[in-house]
């Protein structure tokens, strides 16, 4: 017998009687997510929200606050910044100062945004960049993770995706919170209306 067969046989032999999966419909509120709650929670976890009306406004904010030579974005609407050439080496992103990425939606209860691989250009981009900016549509906020996975089921499939909630952080030294562990030192969410 292979290890696989041995493990499966032991599982089949030892597993308890089958039980039903619970009905999860009660966890869905049926409401629209609150932008105020999203902004509040995001702020509490170290992120920053900025309300904007256009891509031009976002571009202007970036130009004013970052050294534009080190800004990278796969977003076609944001012109004047570096894009990500197809099949480029992820290691080449080591010096990126700011990455600007589209997210599909935000979650009010925890301040997270859902980003899939096609929005990242390269998977490592939202993690390796010194600062991360994300653009979401103000109408795309869900109340909780229950609605979030409903929404994900309607989106195209992905090879990699992540919920990102605020800047990278650690409290491993005496439980003192430090923002900027290995990844972004800040996270800005542009909420577009």
């Amino acid at each position: 017998m292979t290890t696989r067969e041995k493990i499966l046989a032991a599982v089949a032999n030892n597993q308890p009687p089958k039980s039903e999966l619970p009905d999860l419909s009660a966890f869905k509120t049926g409401e629209v997510g609150s932008v105020e709650q999203f902004v509040q929670v995001l702020t509490n976890i170290g992120g920053k929200a900025i309300h904007v009306n256009s891509w031009e406004e976002i571009a202007a904010f970036i130009t004013e606050n970052y050294s534009t030579t080190r800004v990278v974005t796969p977003i076609a609407e944001l012109t004047g910044f570096k894009g990500i050439p197809e099949n480029s080496d992820p290691h080449g992103l080591y010096d990126v100062e700011l990455a600007v990425i589209k997210a599909h939606f935000g979650v009010a209860e925890n301040g997270a945004v859902w980003i899939t691989e096609d929005n990242m250009g390269l998977r490592v981009l939202p993690f390796i960049t010194q600062h991360l900016a994300v653009v979401i549509d103000g109408g795309e906020i869900v109340p909780t993770m229950a609605e979030a996975y409903d929404k994900i089921s309607l989106l195209p499939s992905y090879g990699f995706a992540s919920f990102i909630a605020g800047p990278s952080k650690t409290a491993d030294i005496e439980q003192s919170l430090v923002i900027g562990a290995h990844g972004p030192r800040s996270m800005t969410v542009f909420i577009k209306t």
């Binding site: 290890t3 041995k6 995706a161 030294i173 900027g180």
Partner: protein, 459 residues
């Protein structure tokens, strides 16, 4: 890892020598517990979420045979190579073989308690492969050549001054620097260099989804992602109990996990790995290592529902005052004490006794594992197998004889009162474990029986 011969009580005694540190450890973990409470109380549906999570995990245990095969087929269809490991040795050999095939001698690893359980770092080190742990807390204990003392907060037993010394020695920070901000920045520089130069990355798995063949890894630091997305080969190690049936169930577990663990609404990163990136290899190692045995133990199988949040440790009065290393096991605290005896009953026979059975662990567990009941049940198993501590066995026998005979009972009471009064040195010494950290009580003049006879007996 060195061979441990001391039991929990002896190791806890070492930890308790530094009273100030024990108090700090106790208060810090209680503060984490309070952060958890604050988060939990904001969700009126918390108890329903726990109920749902528990029901989903029960369903997983009852259908594991199907879910494992479903997950394997879907993961393979996604381009992931699936391996099966019966025990720690096979797990380590598989990883070693994969690294050899890619001529890799340096690997970066994010947090994985399973690899701690399997002793992977030591094994690879003996075979000439360098492993660098990338979670900050794990890197710190790795530099200190210690195991993690907590599954979520690996170096919670260390003071910042000690970490400063380690960083001075290994990372070249100036002497006497202990500011967490400065130390974290130094680790950031060091580890980003590691991420960029390592061709192999190993991560743990928080949840694996049978329906889609993908797996989810949660971190706050972003270290799992940094390693995995820069490496040519990504290996994910998981215990077979990490499966969940469908993706939508993450909508329950991700709401519970971090609120329970650290009092955050969610981890910074909840990354869903489904296919390898272009040109990359992705491997999953499904590990048994005693889990199928535990699955067959009716009283203890429930422990396989654990999602490794660490809430039971933060709330445990014994864990908080004895420290994680006292449990001499990869997973410490109440949950570790019911998982460990399954792996080796003789080696971990002390752990189910390292509890007051207060039940706080059971109350905070997000997947409703009956932890304190299982601790109590393990004690019964261990006593029946003759593995109870000798002192306890003799004590219980003497107690049994004393309580079953009124004559011996009365005599023992008299002797006890006489001893406390006239020969206190006979009990106020280090042979009496009760005397440690406590004073013996003032003896009463007479027993209640004697008093009753004197005052009411004639009526």
């Amino acid at each position: 890892m060195e061979v441990i011969t001391k039991d929990h009580a002896e190791l806890a005694e070492n930890f308790n020598r530094d009273e100030e540190r024990v108090n700090w450890h106790d208060e810090t973990l209680w503060w984490v517990r309070q952060k958890r409470d604050k988060m939990v109380h904001q969700l009126p549906e918390w108890e329903q979420l726990r109920e749902a999570a528990s029901a989903i995990k029960n369903n997983v245990l009852g259908n594991l045979h199907n879910y494992l095969q479903q997950f394997e087929a879907n993961a393979q269809a996604n381009g992931i190579t699936v391996h099966w490991a019966a025990d720690a040795a096979e797990h380590n050999q598989i990883i070693h073989r994969l690294l050899n095939e890619h001529q890799v001698t340096r690997m970066v690893k994010s947090k994985s308690m399973l690899t701690e359980e399997c002793g992977l770092n030591e094994y690879l080190h003996e075979h000439g492969i360098e492993v660098i742990d990338s979670d900050l807390g794990e890197r710190i204990v790795q530099l200190a050549k210690e195991p993690p003392s907590h599954i979520v907060l690996p170096c919670i037993h260390k003071k910042k001054e000690e970490i400063g010394e380690l960083f001075h020695q290994y990372l070249g920070t100036p002497l006497d620097v202990s500011d967490p901000q400065v130390l974290t920045e130094a680790a950031r520089g060091h580890l980003r260099e590691i991420f960029i130069t390592r061709k192999a990355a190993l991560t743990g798995v928080n949840f694996a989804i049978a329906e889609t063949g993908e797996f989810v890894v949660c971190t706050n630091e972003g270290n799992a992602d940094m390693g995995a997305h820069l490496a040519d080969i990504h290996i994910a190690s998981m215990g077979i109990e990490k499966l969940i049936p469908e993706k939508k169930h993450l909508g329950i577990f991700l709401r519970l996990l971090t609120r329970s663990a650290t009092g955050q609404p969610i981890t910074t990163y909840s990354s869903h790995f489904k296919t390898p990136r272009m040109g990359q290899q992705m491997h999953i190692v499904l590990v048994d290592n005693g889990r199928t045995v535990q699955l067959g133990r009716e009283d203890f199988r429930n422990s396989l529902k654990c999602i490794r949040c660490g809430a039971c440790m933060n709330t445990c009065p014994v864990y908080r005052r004895s420290g994680g290393h006292s449990y001499h096991n990869a997973v410490a605290g109440p949950i570790g004490s019911i998982l460990a005896p399954n792996l080796d009953m003789e080696k971990y026979k002390d752990l189910p006794f390292a509890s007051t059975l207060c039940g706080s662990c059971t109350n905070v567990c997000p997947v409703k594992i009956d932890i304190h009941d299982q601790l109590y049940k393990w004690r019964q198993v261990l006593v029946k197998k003759g593995l109870a501590p000798t002192g306890k066995t003799i004590g219980m026998k003497v107690m049994g004889a004393t309580l079953s005979s009124p004559t011996i009972y009365r005599l023992a009471g008299k002797m006890g009162r006489w001893t406390l009064k006239y020969a206190p040195f006979a009990v106020n010494n280090s042979f009496n474990p009760w005397y440690k950290h406590r004073d013996m009580p003032e003896p009463p003049e007479q027993s209640f029986g004697e008093w009753y006879k004197q005052n009411r007996g004639s009526k």
